[in-house]
Symmetry: C2
Amino acid sequence: MKRRTFLKGTTAAGVVATAASTFPTPALSQNRRKWRLVTTWPKNLPGLGTGAQYFADAITKCSGGRLSVQLHASGEIVPAFESIDAVGSGTVEMGHGAPYYWKGKAPASQFVSNFPFGLTAQEYNGWYHFGGGAALCDEVYEGLGCKFLVCGNTGVQHPGWSRKEINTLADFKGLKMRMPGIGAEVMRRIGATVVNLPGSEVAAALASGTIDWVEWNNPYGEASMGFWRHAKYYYIPGWHESGTVLETFINRKAWDGLEDDLKAIVTNCAYATNVVMLSEFQARSGPVLQQFINKHGVQVRRLSDEQLVTIGEVCGEVISEFVAADPLTKKVFESMNKFRTEQIAYSGTTEQDFFRARSLKYKWPA
Amino acid sequence: MKRRTFLKGTTAAGVVATAASTFPTPALSQNRRKWRLVTTWPKNLPGLGTGAQYFADAITKCSGGRLSVQLHASGEIVPAFESIDAVGSGTVEMGHGAPYYWKGKAPASQFVSNFPFGLTAQEYNGWYHFGGGAALCDEVYEGLGCKFLVCGNTGVQHPGWSRKEINTLADFKGLKMRMPGIGAEVMRRIGATVVNLPGSEVAAALASGTIDWVEWNNPYGEASMGFWRHAKYYYIPGWHESGTVLETFINRKAWDGLEDDLKAIVTNCAYATNVVMLSEFQARSGPVLQQFINKHGVQVRRLSDEQLVTIGEVCGEVISEFVAADPLTKKVFESMNKFRTEQIAYSGTTEQDFFRARSLKYKWPA
């Protein structure tokens, strides 16, 4: 838009008067922006860091450098958990993280991330794009001074690696678990001792027995952590994080100041990153899981239906408390929960029932 | 790129000599392209037509009109099934359709669409982005004179609406089924009489009993078809189309002639459309399915495990024949099939097992 205004300007009297050699440069640089993207991830962390890098590069490429985005890993400009303040205050223009990191400032952000026994990635995207989700997420982030865009997903995670076998829920009593978020509060009520540890200390704590259980994300994200050396039981299913949403948050004033074409580029690159990031987790976790099982002797263990029913009921209680405590959380949850009810029925006739069919034993080309 | 070259040009002697009023226009128009996108869908057909429109508009917006894409519904410029020729020959620049439409010209395109008992949308995206899929799809479309980009997905479809109840596979014998693709060949071998009908005639044929069964896609896409008036049994699961891929195909020379930023825009808008289109099917199918069941008395019926095992084995046979008949089909299938094996295990620990947990009976906030 500005570019065209500028060019129109050259058709007026000013053209001749402007010195030829200095004429286009200032106008061009006015139209070129350099933005900094702070992430809550180490540089090129498999899945999360690489996905954020894809996003930054996509914007730079699509805009032909008019909006050039430089990625900064956690700690380079601000510590990971201060990213939202850095962006909200305008110190940097944009960030990439996970919504539940901001629950201390905006409790509803925890639900923007999804919730236990919640939506799959595919369902969440339906809610976001066609179920009123985008507007609700923006409402939550308005209070943080940011524009929100969905910008990634891990898919269903694994609840974790355990040094001890779980036969009944009583085995969780006193178990020292490293697990964040709503899931952690649920496990605390089941009887576990929840331990908070920075990611960098988790593997050592598991090795020494300081913790018995560690929740991380999925095989691809866990490949380099070596948890299998110390914990042989790999539990499923991921009741606690059924499709954790990653985000970009953009300083509201910086966003409002973008020309329409750059807004469209940032938006579509965020949507593209959403699918690219989930694809990376999905594709790369396949072979890593096989390595865990076949090379490292990891044993996949299913929580039983009975255990899951109790966990599900405690989840419901914990969620009800969060919802009662904050009107915006209530608004977001009610929208997602209504959508969830329809999706349980619909996915029950599609993805869920297809998995049943595909898992049967039939002859298949090698 | 060219824009900058042009502006640099103005720093040279030509500035003063160029007439002020005509000066910027020709240069700008050199940099502005109008492309036509032919689709295989009626205008704004729910899900498919609306998704293609999203794609066209996204490119126009992101490029600030430098690449302006005008959508043409099927029949406006060429009939739906001639779209690939129109694009391959350069009559128009780009198209939107379903890869299996081109199986007569490139047999492997049928597998670019996915295959029965194949990959879910999420898994397919993993294969496409990180499993070697993008390069293989391009190899298939090279023979069609086109660049391929994944640009949509329906998710798991429903195999269809039946006027008659199916209790055993013997009930398929002589059943007049409207079903396309590999699934149709499978049902033919099971004993059904496969009938080919254009979409516009399907509902009337079902009403008159000319056909007993119709396969379409999913509730959102079927909402306006009124199949429930004539067929009360709605069968699952979608063994035949587990995540049907939609595509954009771009004339190879037109693609090669794009500046890098426009290539990035088209690519990322295609990826964005992939998630937006699937989201529309997913979100909107939820309430429509409820209407079918609660308002129109539709009965959802599951094919039994025993029936599915036989169908799965016949699928394997049919696929083996396709693979033996065409080296490129073999190459594509082998890549996808290896990926599928890993994904059956991985999704078995993630999405699939999460659905089990979520479907259990536990108290949950209303």
